[in-house]
């Protein structure tokens, strides 16, 4: 479904990502894990067209998207739930969700999606008039994921959804991802620092280090490898 072919990204001349390739298959959940600064967010932003590539290609359903503008990529059905959530703080929950459906013109499907999000996160329904900036981190993350679902994405890319959340909230967020896997036909690309959770959730995983893929394979296998545990836990 999504294919990244040998991309290189430079910041002010310095390569931060070198010749990286990866694949996301339809209906799969793919995890990308790695330490802070390994280039995970850079990868997602490159897919979103927010960062220019110095080399390589990105294909979505066979179509080259690395020359497109971000908003065109969104219209193709790739939705990015960014790190730090990037909600529109002073706006209400509902307004934020409706902005998630900005590219959708069909009122009925908007309503359907809104209901689905509210059903997924009942807490958002309770607080739909509240300014999203005044909610707790976990609620904000729900709003961010909910906003991502508003346009019925073909590929949902979650960037550190557990960042800054209390453990209980983290499980709740991952539970949601699991439910999306079960219910929908949504493909998920999950970027996480929370290695174990991410690997447990994913079908396939990539381990990223200093802008390069260090290891890839079925997530369960990676989870079992000592190398991973050592690299991330120092255990």
């Amino acid at each position: 479904m999504l294919e990244v072919k040998g991309i290189t990204v430079r910041y002010s001349g310095l390569p931060v990502m070198r010749d990286l390739s990866m694949k996301v298959e339809q209906n799969q959940t793919v995890g990308v894990v790695g330490a802070n600064g390994a280039g995970k967010s850079t990868l997602l932003k490159a897919i979103m067209g927010a960062i220019k590539l110095s080399a390589g290609q990105i294909l979505f359903n066979g179509q080259r998207i690395d020359r497109l503008r971000t908003e065109e990529i969104v219209r193709l059905g790739i939705i990015y739930v960014p790190e730090g959530r990037r909600l529109f703080g002073p706006l209400s929950v509902e307004e934020n969700l409706m902005l998630g459906a900005y590219t959708v013109s069909d009122e009925a499907s908007k309503r359907r999606n809104l209901e689905y999000v509210f059903e997924l996160f009942p807490r958002l329904a309770e607080r739909k008039r509240q300014a999203v900036g005044s909610m707790s981190g976990g609620e904000q993350q729900m709003a961010a994921i909910g906003r991502g679902l508003m346009s019925s994405p073909k590929l949902l890319m979650l960037d550190e959804p557990s960042l800054g959340l209390a453990p209980l909230m983290v499980s709740e967020v991952f539970e949601t991802v699991r439910r999306l896997q079960r219910e929908g036909d949504t493909t998920v690309l999950l970027v996480e620092q929370n290695v174990l959770e991410a690997l447990e959730l994913s079908d396939w995983a990539y381990i990223l280090q200093t802008g390069q893929i260090r290891k890839q394979g079925p997530a369960r296998e990676l989870l079992a490898s000592d190398e991973v545990r050592q690299a991330f836990l120092g255990l």
């Binding site: 002010s12 310095l14 330490a35 802070n36 600064g37 390994a38 005044s134 707790s136 981190g137 550190e160 557990s162 960042l163 800054g164 959340l165 209390a166 453990p167 983290v170 499980s171 620092q193 929370n194 174990l196 959770e197 447990e200 280090q209 200093t210 991330f232 836990l233 120092g234 255990l235």
Partner: protein
């Protein structure tokens, strides 16, 4: 008498509680690690100590003086230096000039500021980059310069915020050795937060674990890692559960 004493420090942002009743000490001859998952409030605590944020309640005592009401630059002049998690070099300063800004805290003379800066850079092994522009250095080297700048202000205590972030394993090993030398040869106490646990474990004499703004554990690195609370905080409930299941099986 501890060099730094944190007494029941709490920090609220509006309704959000970032730190709640955190207390601990750092001694002059110590390296203390401050760990915890993302969003546990480590950086906020650093900012409170450094006077960047006013604390909501509690006190910070440094070198026998209550520094809670002091502003950040006043705290820095007391001998409490810090590095920043996100370090962006954008300016038109050369490396040595950048480090000199640190040494200018202790002297008004350009000559002695320059000497002090070069000495610190020599110590950190980056003397050869002195004439280069900051923006031309790779990230790892930039971080070293930031470290040199903080060190050039001749601090008693150095707060290190994620110095290892974005470095590869071999770079991290070098950094660990360096920090150890800073501590032993220069007698600077270190308080560091880190994601790369490996580094914290190797460096610290003592580790303090924060979660959701509260201290949940304190002790020697080896013990703390085994603390189920800590493992749960870091790796999540499932992992703990599975470990148990695994243990049962």
């Amino acid at each position: 008498m501890a060099l730094l004493r944190i007494n029941n420090v709490s920090k609220h942002f509006g309704g959000l509680v970032a730190n709640r009743d955190v207390s601990f000490d750092v001694d002059q001859d110590e390296v203390v690690g401050l760990i915890g998952p993302n969003g546990a409030g480590k950086t906020t605590l650093f900012n409170c100590i450094a006077g960047f944020y006013p604390v909501t309640s509690g006190t910070v005592v440094f070198d026998g003086q209550d520094i809670t009401p002091l502003r950040d630059f006043q705290v820095a002049r007391m001998g409490l230096a810090r590095t920043f998690q996100i370090f962006q070099a954008s300016g038109d300063l050369k490396v040595v000039e950048n480090v000199m800004v640190g040494s200018f805290m202790r002297t008004g003379s350009r000559g002695s500021a320059r000497r002090a800066a070069l000495e610190v850079m020599e110590f950190l092994g980056i003397a050869e980059t002195a004439g280069e522009m900051m923006t031309e250095l790779p990230v790892a080297a930039q971080k070293r310069v930031a470290l040199a700048t903080a060190l050039a202000s001749d601090p008693k205590l150095l707060l290190l915020d994620e110095v290892g972030a974005g470095l590869n394993p071999s770079e991290i090993d070098g950094l660990i050795a360096l920090l150890q030398r800073i501590h032993t040869e220069r007698g600077v106490a270190l308080l560091l937060t880190e994601h790369v646990l490996e580094m914290v474990m190797k460096l610290s004499h003592r580790v303090i674990v924060l979660e959701s703004g509260q201290k949940i554990a304190e002790g020697e690195p080896a013990q703390v890692v085994k603390d189920p609370e800590v493992v749960r905080a870091y790796l999540g409930d499932h992992y703990v559960k599975r470990q148990k299941e695994g243990g049962d099986a």
